[in-house]
């Protein structure tokens, strides 16, 4: 009882605020205090300037900066800013997926993305990052578990090591969220937890090690016969058309195949079509947020702001490919329905972004437009293909990330114009990346083909096994009744959209701290009793 009186004493004071005098007194006291604080702060700054001036007068010799004292912070800021942008892509995915799905599974999509992000962060800290960037062999790394024994900066880039970790975590998180796109509406949350552990803890980091990790066998093309096949060209994936998007897209495909279509989903050849989206506004805004996030994804992958012409080129190429992809996709499907299709324009521009992710550093703006334009055709054709195969991909994740990812990866071998390879402090011009159309022959294309094919076979195979294993053990798909009722109600206990929140609802359980959140009539009555008796 006493504790309640302590808690409610301020409430009584607050009640006095209803009186005019109290309010007037408060305003007088408050403004007086503020003036005092400002005066003190002003005095402190003034004094500081005096002392500072004196100190400067004594040490007139200019401070000598070594190069790294400037380079390292600049590069670190660049990597952090872009990491934040990539992280914000989560918001884009959430909006896009929820908007393109039905209203009955919105809460599920929101929680799925939030949970995946948290899970991915912890797994990546514990061992994902170690598998990906630890030193080891060409197939897996095994240092930096739990970020133990990390140096101050990453390699020669001068980027603070943990900033680099954050940047790479945002990438891993993106990959794991892409996966969920093709699986919305019917995956049980438990199944989601299990396959997410496999995706963000193992499949993504290990494959990424092959391409980006120290000594990765694809990134170095270390297998002799392959090296001969590609004439020494190594597989290049600048920001992850393959490593992030094809991987995510094909895990999604495996998931969609193992799950089967949503109940009531009829395919075109059976006289049906996709289930309609519940909020295209949300979907379109999510698409633009993703585009915005891509300005971190691609330009940030230089890991260095010193290569300023490089990041400028990457950002411009990224934009142009998205523009071409969106327009081409929209006009490509126009003849079918004689309508300007928002959903396909969104998917098309995302396809353009996915495609340009791999080659963005090495192609010209013209090349970027071409690559985006082709992606704008690959995406709708990919959607048709899945429809033909009776695979239910509610938001087009497989076509956008899987198929456009393959195209983007291959396109480097066609459109690369002969730029060097970005390093920490400039461009290494000893090995120029040239594609078929720019006099480089087939070598780079072959290397890209090897990388992309490896990704599709290995990742698709492994994730089919993982999805089947989850299906057979804990169960991947929700029950029929639950699916009809909607994932939100069945798995999460609440719909995303109440007709009238609060009306006709009463808060039934009063448990500890939970009670103050409710505000139902019972909760308020309980508080009233306590207050009166104290």
């Amino acid at each position: 009882m006493k504790s309640f009186s302590v808690i409610f004493a301020p409430m009584k004071k607050l009640a006095r605020f209803k009186e005019k005098e109290t309010r007037r007194a408060f305003v007088a006291i408050f403004s007086g205090k503020m003036i005092g604080i400002i005066a003190i702060l002003g005095a402190m700054i003034g004094v500081n300037m005096l002392i500072g001036g004196a100190a400067n007068a004594q040490t007139a010799t200019p401070i000598q900066h070594t190069a790294n004292e400037l380079v390292n912070p600049v590069n670190t800021i660049w990597v952090l800013v872009t990491a934040f942008l990539v992280f914000f892509m989560q918001a884009g995915f959430m909006a896009l997926e929820a908007g393109f799905a039905r209203s009955r599974e919105s809460v599920n999509i929101m929680l799925e993305c939030i949970f995946d992000t948290c899970l991915c962060g912890l797994l990546y800290w514990a061992f994902g990052f170690a598998f990906q960037f630890g030193t080891g062999n060409g197939f897996i790394g095994h240092t930096f578990f739990f970020l133990h024994g990390t140096p101050e900066t990453y390699g020669t880039t001068g980027v603070a090591f943990l900033a680099f970790f954050l940047f790479q975590f945002a990438f891993a998180d993106t990959c794991s969220t892409i996966t969920s796109g093709a699986m919305v509406g019917r995956t049980s949350f438990k199944g989601d937890i299990y396959y997410s552990i496999a995706v963000s803890g193992f499949i993504y980091p290990i494959f990424a090690h092959w391409v980006w990790g120290p000594g990765g066998w694809l990134g170095g093309m270390t297998i002799h016969s392959l090296n001969t096949f590609t004439n020494g060209a190594v597989f290049r994936d600048f920001a992850g058309s393959t490593v992030v998007h094809t991987v995510g897209g094909f895990i999604a495909l495996a998931g969609a195949i193992v799950l089967g279509p949503r109940l009531g989903r009829k395919f075109k050849r059976d006289g049906g079509g996709p289930l309609p989206p519940h909020d295209l506004n949300l979907g379109a805004i999510g698409t633009v947020i993703l585009w915005f996030g891509w300005y971190g994804f691609n330009p940030g992958s230089t890991l260095s702001a010193l290569d300023f012409t490089g990041i400028g080129r990457v950002a411009a190429n990224t934009t142009l490919a998205a523009c071409a992809g969106g327009i081409v996709a929209m006009f490509f499907v126009y003849p079918r329905s004689k309508k300007y299709d928002l959903g396909m324009a969104c998917n098309g521009l995302l396809g353009g972004l996915v495609a340009i992710t791999c080659p963005c550093y090495w192609v010209s703006p013209f090349g970027a437009v071409m690559i985006g334009a082709v992606a704008g055709i690959v995406v709708p054709l990919g959607v048709d293909l899945l429809e033909r195969w009776r695979i239910d991909d509610p938001i087009g994740a497989v076509a956008v990330h899987g198929f456009a990812g393959i195209w983007g990866t291959l396109s480097l071998g066609l459109f690369a114009t002969g730029f060097g390879v970005p390093t920490a402090d400039g461009v290494d011009r000893t090995s120029l990346v040239k594609g078929l159309f720019y006099g480089g022959g087939w070598s780079q294309f072959k290397a890209q083909f090897v990388g992309s094919l490896t990704c599709v076979i290995v990742v698709f195979g492994v994730s089919l096994l993982v999805m089947y294993a989850v299906k057979k053990t804990v169960g991947l798909r929700i029950s029929r009744e639950a699916e009809l009722e909607g994932l939100d109600l069945h798995e999460h206990g609440t719909p995303a959209y109440h007709m009238e929140f609060g009306q006709g609802m009463t808060y039934t359980t009063l448990t500890g701290v939970g009670s103050f959140l409710g505000g139902g009539s019972e909760a308020r009555a309980g508080v009233g009793v306590e207050k009166d008796s104290s």
């Binding site: 009531g264 009722e485 109600l489 206990g493 007709m499 006709g504 609802m505 009463t506 808060y507 039934t508």
Partner: protein, 113 residues
């Protein structure tokens, strides 16, 4: 003579019921999202660890104007297709309709269906 058949059913059964009625030649219906309670009482939802009772459960209401001779058939079709056997399956009732008018043509009575 025209009857109005009104049915309150579970929302996810709507597609099935509509297809069945269409197949049986019912040419039109009006559908609304409604909330209410019956024997089911309400249902519980959760938010931030607390549990709520929602007194009104979302349902779908169908209103179908049919020729009086078809009333039994239509009620049968709805009853069979919307049944899950669990609480909250809803109700179906039919009432006499005094006047019906098709706005576009001015037809009245059974001709307006």
């Amino acid at each position: 003579m025209v009857h109005l058949v009104t049915a309150v059913i579970k929302p996810f059964k709507l597609e099935e019921v509509k297809d069945a009625l269409r197949g049986a030649g019912v040419l039109g219906m009006t559908v609304s999202e409604v909330q209410g309670y019956g024997r089911q009482g309400g249902k519980s939802e959760t938010f931030r660890g607390g549990e709520y009772t929602v007194s009104f459960v979302p349902k779908v209401k169908l209103e179908i104007l049919v020729d009086s001779s078809d009333v039994d058939k239509v009620i049968d079709i709805i009853a069979v297709t919307s049944k899950t056997g669990k609480i909250g399956d809803g109700k179906i009732w039919a009432t006499d309709v005094d006047r019906v008018l098709r706005v576009r043509t001015g037809e009245a009575g059974a001709d307006a269906l």
